[in-house]
Amino acid sequence: MAIIEMRNLTYHYPLAETPALHGIDLEVQQGEFLAVVGANGSGKSSLCYALSGFVPHFFKGKLEGQLNIAGIDTHQSGLMDFVRRVGLVFQNPFNQISGSKFSVYEEIAFGLENLAVPPTEMRARIDAMLDLTGIRDLADRSPYALSGGQQQRLALASILVMQPQVLILDEPTSQLDPIGSREVFQVIKDLSRQGMTIVMAEHKIEWVAEFADRMLVLSQGEIIGNGKPSEILSLPQLPEHGVGISRYTTVARLAQKEGLWPSDQALPVTLTEAVAGFQEALG
């Protein structure tokens, strides 16, 4: 059964004339890893907020249509219902950090304290998160004495420690270096294999292609593509919608026009595919 179901979901921020989300129909299965791509302003963050209850319960505005997630009907519930089942990792870790804690360790404990989790269990869960997100050596540092990338790992740890059924991530690796990003993607992929449902807004197309099960393309608040990464990434209209395509796809597309890409091959998304195609073209 689908753990997320949206039917004709339309959302207006307060005072906004045009909807941030318009007529969204979406189902996500438990354990699925869904990546959401699209230009800035396409509705990615609004979708993340709707899935985690911030829309409409924090941002207010007008939400129409149906949204059910992990047994919660957003029209019948409040933010507190979401907190135990759905975790949101913010785009900007600075907006997420509580500001009331003096160490990374305490910051990760913040959510659990609010849910009155017993201390022994709390310690075990926090320790596991420090290891999983690779920030054990930062445990005693102030959350504000971290680099952007380290803060992003902390933001992820503070949400994962809550053991949500559905994890929503809004560009969680934007400040990480390539190796750090890969580690985070791998952690998230493993969690989805273990049954956690993942929805991730992301610009890093090649990585989405490698890790996600399915891709959703948004443009001006509407879904314009929904399918396997390989299907989506060969859609010729992606660049018009401000979705980056990998440099491999870009050069293969240029080469195709000059007959320098094999006519029977799909455009490449990854290095391996590009090498294979160009080697064939070069004979």
């Binding site: 699209g38 230009a39 800035n40 302003g41 785009q91 900007n92 600075f94 540092r141 004495a145 680099s147 952007g148 990338g149 380290q150 560009e171 934007s174 400040q175 990480l176 270096d177 390539p178 190796i179 750090g180 610009h203 090649e206 660049p239 401000g242 979705v243 980056g244 395509i245 990998s246 440099r247 491999y248 870009t250 050069v251 240029l254 080469a255 000059e258 007959g259 320098l260 290095l271 590009a274 090498v275 160009f278 080697q279 070069l282 004979g283």
Partner: protein
């Protein structure tokens, strides 16, 4: 060579002059003992287009912040032209070095886009005419026309980044530092930022960017400084530094996509952008290629 000039109080003259940047044996540690810069020396000539890359924690942002005086070297010296940064406060240095923060929200505070962009030049006591002209140019370059009366916080993060950039550009500093300019930006915005950087370079500004976006570096910069563990590992033309695969990977930098593709296809040249790639692939095409 150090030219010992008295610093000029008249800002109208300063923007015309380029300044050589000299970093001499600089060390810096954060409280708690993390050594972010472990003896860094470099020189940047007026008008250079420089990217600084390296893993998280390599010292990139710290380097940028000693250049604009937000941080002072613990040991060593930083000179912006004839100014020793130890003797000038941040507000004075802001006349020579503009710094665009990674996160626009660290930087924006005015009620409208127009006020925000106009704040810098007015604060530097430029004449009203010059302030207005600089504000107009900055808004044009960042394509913010029509958004002047909006509140920056009603804009999407992409456009907030443009406001943050415009507000620094309007100060007309000869040196500009961009901290992670493409982070979180979509494809269209990344192209726009590439255009802004090219146009600043053309007008003779010194442009320094700190970035993880190695493909963006390859396509938009001339010189690349690679940092690891608070030191400079590589410094040279982009095409040379990007060929040093092992040193790059020691600081967790992957080569750009097209550089890797070119190498796998056996091209001799270090490929930096799609135009270079297309030239190389046309050359390696056998003359009697089948239909």
């Amino acid at each position: 060579m150090m030219v010992q000039l008295e610093s000029r109080p008249d800002p109208e003259d300063q923007a015309q002059t380029g300044y050589r940047i000299q970093v001499k044996e600089v060390k810096f540690s954060y409280p708690g003992g993390v050594q972010a810069l472990a003896g860094v020396s470099l020189e940047i000539q007026p008008g250079e287009l420089v990217a600084v890359v390296g893993q998280n924690g390599a010292g990139k942002t710290t380097l940028a912040r000693v250049l604009n005086g937000l941080l002072r070297p613990e040991q060593g010296e930083v000179w912006i032209g004839d100014w020793d940064t130890r003797q000038y406060d941040v507000s004075r240095l802001a006349r020579r070095v503009g710094y665009v923060f990674q996160n626009p929200d660290d930087q924006l505070f005015c009620r409208t886009v127009g006020e925000e962009v106009g704040f810098g030049p007015r604060n530097l006591k430029f004449s009203p005419q010059r302030s207005a002209e600089l504000t107009r140019r900055a808004i044009e370059l960042t394509e913010l026309q029509g958004k002047e009366l909006l509140n920056p916080y009603d804009l999407s993060p992409t456009w907030r980044k443009m406001v943050a950039m415009a507000s620094i550009l309007a100060m007309d500093t000869p040196v500009l530092i961009f901290d992670e300019p493409t982070t979180g930006q979509d494809a269209g915005s990344v192209r726009r930022i590439g255009g802004i950087i090219a146009s600043l370079h053309q007008s003779g500004k010194t442009v320094i960017a700190i970035t993880h976006d190695i493909d963006f570096c390859a396509e938009n910069f001339e010189r690349m400084i690679v940092m690891g563990a608070g030191k400079i590992l590589l410094d040279g033309p982009v095409s040379q530094t990007l060929a040093e695969k092992e040193i790059l990977s020691s600081t967790y930098v992957e080569q750009p996509q097209l550089t890797r593709l070119g190498q796998r296809l056996g091209f001799e040249q270090v490929i930096l952008n799609s135009a270079e790639f297309m030239r190389a692939i046309r050359k390696s095409q056998p003359p009697s290629s089948p239909e």
